[in-house]
Symmetry: C2
Subunit: 150 residues, 2 copies
């Protein structure tokens, strides 16, 4: 991983629809050289996948919620059971097991408060072993990217 690879990854994290020719121009390399570097990064698993990002405001998912969850008990069985269930919930985009006051932080996309209420009542609170929850609502998006600097 040299500087060229880092530049290449920065570009690919921004936009994968550029042709290898365009990338080659920006990196001062030949088309094949760029091609092979990309293949290497894919082989090594550094590039994990190529995806399309949608505009959530155009598809009725403008309401972002962070939900902090605490379990009743912390046995391995309770944790894995909870995790297995939360993975299946479509509304949940991210779920991280964390240190601190709460056990998990979830990020959800829903249409509005009404839909979130429905989610809480019919899905979240029916999960086993949940102790307490604390919901935080997004009122503004300051920064939201999938690309990070190497």
């Amino acid at each position: 991983m040299d500087t060229t690879d880092k530049k290449l990854l920065a570009l690919l994290q921004q936009d994968t629809k550029k042709t290898t020719k365009e990338l080659a121009g920006k990196l001062n390399l030949s088309v094949t050289a760029v091609y092979e570097r990309i293949k290497k990064l894919e082989r090594e698993g550094i590039i994990h996948k190529y995806v399309a990002l949608l505009n959530r405001n155009k598809v009725d998912k403008g309401f972002v919620v962070f939900c902090h969850i605490k379990l009743i008990q912390h046995s391995k069985e309770f944790l894995t059971n909870f995790e297995r269930q939360v993975i299946k919930l479509d509304e949940v985009l991210e779920c991280f097991h964390v240190s601190g006051d709460y056990d998990y932080i979830l990020k959800l996309f829903v249409k509005d408060m009404e839909e979130y209420r429905e989610f809480m009542v019919t899905k979240l609170t029916t999960l086993n072993h949940i102790g307490s929850t604390h919901s935080t609502f997004m009122i503004g998006e300051v920064k939201n990217t999938t690309a990070f600097t190497l």
Copy 2:
């Protein structure tokens, strides 16, 4: 936006390296039909961008931190000033203005605790108007996707 569009978006959110031919097969459509649907979704801004997702564990960014921040005061000037500065921080992937006990929730990718400490001391705490911060560390990734169900 019909059912076919939703299926198409589900596929594109998972993988954009499939050829339109393959997508056409899965959707029981011709190549051109798929092509035109994709162009329409791009035109409407529903598809926002195409990006490569990296494996953070392979590039020294395995340490995920959530940082809850409270400002000293909530005047418009203080908020926009803080936001303008936080956008520039490379370590910060997400920053949401939220309701509740704290004003902002940040998600960061760094190498390890040492790098996070460095970030706190040299970057975060030098920002103006910060009242208090509360850091939560990821100890496990349960679910982490950019794709959501429509």
